[in-house]
Symmetry: C2
Subunit: 513 residues, 2 copies
């Protein structure tokens, strides 16, 4: 069917998509979310169909991707015909039926996900099937490989490339801001890409952005690493393992994460990592709840790494409370900078960073990795290296902790009774920080005066919430009127809660990459 | 966030949807497929988010549904804010985890599906989870009830309302065109709604439309039934169990059908059926492959009917070849009309129609239902009743078989050898009829000269393909060059096929409602 092209600058996340009039779609025998082939001057693109009444009969609105690929001009005519179902759909159906997917099948699926040949429902069905039927290590390996092959890669001329990753879930975890400069200062190459927050109050990219630009392209990233061994950039625009960004969208709304390991490993493989340390925080309120669960994840991660040629170690770490004393991009960047400058001691943060960096040193054959890391930190070498990275990424290398802008509006929360801090509710603290504006408002967040085990007197400040807007602070007050994120007392109360009718399950879900 | 409204006549299948600029979406902290609340003058609508570059910063394009519900005018400003995840998502997650869903949970999901509060991925995940985890009879009952409650209902003042349904899969099955007038002629009320083809060469609505208008609204339908006891209308625009139309879209592209029984039963309950006969065709090339499978389905259907207050019987019927001698809307309507007029004997079609109608009579306490049906048919009472229905639905009551337009272009296919017809490939025959233009081109289809068991001489015509366009007939020729839909020989060949490498699975899938 010949249709006249209209372009409205619709980008459809870079996917080929067409918008058809209902009558034309009926004539073609195609429904919404179906696929058509769009042909112009001998070139054919497969596109997902949207049906709307705003397109007139005889016209087709094409997304920018099609515009570009077919080199179309306004009022060109294109031939639109029904496309066959992609072969990958049959493989997704096989997984729905509980069948194991082979390499070629996985690759075909991932290729079609990235190419936009599978619609939202089909991708969702695949992710759901992986969640329910589970994927074995062969499938995980094939997924990771395919995700690498369908994206860009960083080619550094280095025999050894190290990397660090946290499966996430601990608020205030600014470890990367310490580990990268410690490692790079020791002369090892660490091309670190980080993500922005999805469900948290700040991702590493959000924190780092307070100190320097993080949205480098892949060549700029390469230059920074070549000059100073390390970088801290946002992975989102680098097009490394782009399938993951599509899977994550589905995972987020369903609160499932079957692609956790393939996702981590594909991003590491894409930057050429040869050695990797994975942090698995454990505890109530963290992503991984038990040490047993963490060990099972670690086992799979190590084997998956082995198959992909990445020597991987895992550190199972304590995750039942926020790390350090700050949550929120600017507050965390400030805390990290102060620790690097030896202006503040933050024992848990320093301990974790030195364990992670130390593990990398030990993978390189060094002894007492922890001590090496601590020495680099205390000697100010890590600070110097971070300032070098900041400068190369286009930031101000002389930035001082007090230069960072913190929200003007604050709310001090005081202890209602004396005792010890018995627990800190990670999820609720994240909700509070997000209500205050984090991660979008960089100056929003929380500073803790007390953490688990600390003695508290009635009326003492437990924590202060900062916000850039008073309106947002009012939302925080509303939350705190209903719920309490920090428990103070002499001993744990025995009753957790009563269940007298079907409870509303408040399952927390942390999706971080 | 206050945004200026733009309307572009986007209907988004009647769902509330908004189109935002990327920057506004980022400022709101929302991604594509997320949900926002749109508030205007105190009224709030939840809408699914689309992010596009064709909307300028500070503007929001709203779908017609929002336009209508908020009574918006061009350049009104609306307040857009992030909406919480709907509660139903938690229930979908529970099903993903293999948990049984309770009534309130099912109802919440169905309500949100119909209300457009769940995006495509979430609906797909739900349908996928139902397919993999399966639904038990309690869940099926709750689904059917919720699907009824979230749609319109037909309220006839009749104590007994009968209905007939086929799970589908047999090409050329025009039984309904006979059963409805037979039943209505006997004085029973049968408010029959039918669907158009999804994967077949013609649905009952497509066939009936050749004889009369079928897109009546619910009041028109009611009037027809009140006047003559029966009708044959298209169910698609009646808004009976509308959730099903949304589920079907997902099921189609994934070739799964977990909602088969709730779907059938909800549509029957919505028209107030008290007695129901379900046809389950069985055989290679039919939807249900084995008699055992059919009996299991029948068992569930009967129990589901019992719970919903619909007395249900099932007939397991022979489905290994097309029914009658015609496939395609006009050819089938013609065949049905000729049989009703006793101008043609079509033993298999008549046999099946009389068994189905007879089963209904027997449910009403009559004996020898089959004979009653046959008598009504042979006495011409069913023809008279059909003409009454045609007239009341707005068609020409004097329509004759020869008035129906058949495709001008034809292709006669002759036997390449002598023997008997050993098999007819239902799926391939449907592909041929669809390639010829059916169901869209009403005059396209196939007429069979021979069926299973018939003796054939080399060179005799096996079947003729009709098409309205010679271009489409060329596509048929291409298909027939590669594949043969009818096997002629002395005995079945032993080898079905060889498998020397991973085979491309050619699973047929029939999705009909």
């Amino acid at each position: 069917m010949l249709l006249k092209v209209k372009m409205l600058g619709i980008d459809s996340s870079g996917k080929p998509a067409v918008f058809l009039n209902k009558q034309d779609a009926d004539d073609l025998g195609i429904t919404s979310s179906g696929r058509v082939q769009v042909n112009s001057k001998g070139t054919t693109v497969t596109a997902i169909v949207n049906i709307t009444s705003f397109v007139k009969k005889g016209f087709v609105v094409v997304s920018e991707e099609i515009h570009r690929r077919l080199d179309l001009k306004r009022s060109d005519a294109v031939d639109v015909s029904v496309a066959a179902f992609p072969k990958s759909l049959q493989f997704i159906r096989n997984k729905l039926a509980g069948k194991k997917l082979l390499y070629d099948e996985v690759h075909e699926i991932v290729k079609d996900v990235v190419g936009g040949n599978l619609n939202e429902s089909e991708v969702a069905a695949f992710v759901t099937a992986l969640h329910i039927q589970e994927l074995d290590l062969d499938e995980a390996t094939n997924l990771a490989s395919s995700m690498v092959q369908t994206g860009k890669r960083l080619n550094l001329d280095a025999k050894t490339i190290v990397d660090k990753h946290s499966v996430g879930g601990v608020p205030g975890d600014k470890t990367t801001l310490l580990v990268v400069p410690i490692i790079a200062a020791a002369g090892l190459v660490i091309p670190k890409t980080s993500s922005r927050a999805i469900t948290s109050a700040g991702g590493t990219a959000d924190r780092a952005e307070v100190l320097m630009p993080v949205d480098l392209d892949i060549n700029e990233m390469k230059n920074v690493v070549k000059k100073c061994n390390g970088c801290i950039v946002w992975g989102g625009s680098l097009d490394l393992a782009p399938a993951d960004d599509i899977f994550v969208k589905v995972e987020y709304s369903l609160s499932i994460d079957p692609l956790l390991l393939p996702s981590i490993m594909s991003k590491k493989k894409a930057v050429g990592a040869t050695h990797l340390v994975i942090d698995i925080p454990v505890g109530r309120g963290a992503k991984i709840k038990t040490i047993g669960e963490a060990d099972l994840l670690a086992k799979d991660a190590i084997e998956l790494g082995r198959r992909l040629g990445i020597n991987s170690h895992c550190l199972v770490t304590y995750g039942e409370q926020p790390l350090g004393h700050a949550i929120g991009p600017s507050l965390e960047a400030k805390e990290a900078l102060e620790v690097l400058m030896n202006k503040s001691s933050m024992p848990d943060l320093v301990d974790k960073a030195c364990h992670l960096a130390g593990a990398i040193f030990e993978m390189m054959g060094k002894k007492s990795g922890y001590d090496i890391a601590k020495e680099i930190l205390q000697a100010g070498k890590a600070e110097k290296k971070l300032r070098e990275i900041i400068s190369l990424q286009g930031g101000n290398p002389n930035i001082q902790p007090d230069d960072l802008t913190i929200g003007k509006h604050d709310l001090q929360v005081r202890a209602k009774n004396s005792g010890r801090v018995l627990w800190m509710d990670n999820n609720l603290l994240v909700s509070v920080a997000r209500a205050a504006g984090a991660p979008k408002d960089k100056g929003a967040g929380i500073i803790f005066n007390k953490k688990r085990g600390n003695k508290v007197k009635k009326g003492e400040i437990l924590y202060t919430v900062y916000s850039e807007k008073s309106r947002k602070l009012s939302r925080v007050e509303e939350i705190l009127r209903l719920e309490n994120p920090i428990g103070v007392g002499d001993r744990m109360e025995m009753l957790i809660h009563k269940v007298k009718e079907a409870p509303v399950v408040k399952r927390s879900f942390m999706l971080e990459r």
